[in-house]
């Protein structure tokens, strides 16, 4: 079981901050594909991957990152701290 977290407008577009997912996805990209198949609002949130960033177990990663043994994946727009 994996926690999938959403932040900022990704969270707003999907409508909730977190899903618990049972997934066989090998990579982040595969996971995105699975999520997009769920409902239209997921497909809308993930329409432009170039506008998104991903963290795997709380470390920034890319969409080809493997998901074996991963407990937490998070999707969010580019960060705007400071």
């Amino acid at each position: 079981m994996m926690d999938v977290l959403y932040f900022a407008w990704v969270r707003e577009r999907i409508g909730h901050p977190k899903d618990q997912v049972e997934s066989e996805a090998a990579t982040v990209r595969d996971l995105v594909e699975e999520l997009c198949g769920r409902e239209e609002r997921y497909a809308a949130a993930f329409a432009d991957l170039g506008a998104l960033r991903v963290a795997v177990d709380q470390e920034l990663a890319d969409f080809d990152a493997p998901l074996g043994g991963v407990r937490e994946v998070a999707f969010f727009p580019p960060m705007t701290g400071g």
């Binding site: 932040f7 407008w9 963290a55 709380q58 969010f76 727009p77 705007t80 701290g81």
Partner: protein
């Protein structure tokens, strides 16, 4: 290294004094404070969201990187989240080093990195409703000057 992510306001003077007071053998302390900017006087509030857990890890990694590169003796990163009013302090960094060049450069490095590598997101609340602040290309470009192969003559040690 002192990393704090909090909703409550902080006392800039008290933080700066406490930071300076706990140093020994350092010749320079640099502090930077970020405020909620209200360019046209129309901002009602700035809301800051973050990723609890990852935020602290990312900030600590950035501070440790700065310590490795500039040999600074200490660093403080304090960043708020939640709903802030215009002109309120959002965040501060402080660095302590034996010499001022390292303290200034390490503070700039911390700021450049935490703007686009620490998981915070700003949302402005104004007269036309709420809007997420878009990341700026300049913030991403700012990181390239700290790349190991950047030939800009800046001190690396």
């Amino acid at each position: 290294m002192d990393i704090r992510v909090q909703e409550a306001p902080f006392d800039l003077g008290a933080e700066a004094n406490a930071f300076a007071a706990r140093q020994t053998g350092m010749g320079a302390v640099v502090t930077f404070t970020g405020l909620v900017r209200d360019l046209d006087g129309a901002l009602d509030a700035m809301e800051i969201e973050h990723y609890p857990g990852m935020t602290e890890r990312a900030l600590r990694a950035i501070a440790e990187d700065a310590a490795d590169r500039w040999g600074i003796g200490d660093a403080l990163i304090l960043h708020r989240y939640g709903r802030l009013a215009p002109d309120e302090a959002i965040m501060m960094v402080a660095t302590a080093a034996r010499h001022r060049a390292a303290a200034f450069e390490a503070a700039e490095f911390l700021m450049d990195y935490l703007k686009s590598r620490a998981p915070f997101w700003k949302k402005e609340h104004g007269p036309s409703g709420p809007a997420w602040v878009a990341a700026r290309d300049e913030d991403e470009d700012a990181l390239t000057r700290w790349a190991p192969d950047a030939r800009d003559g800046r001190a690396r040690t």
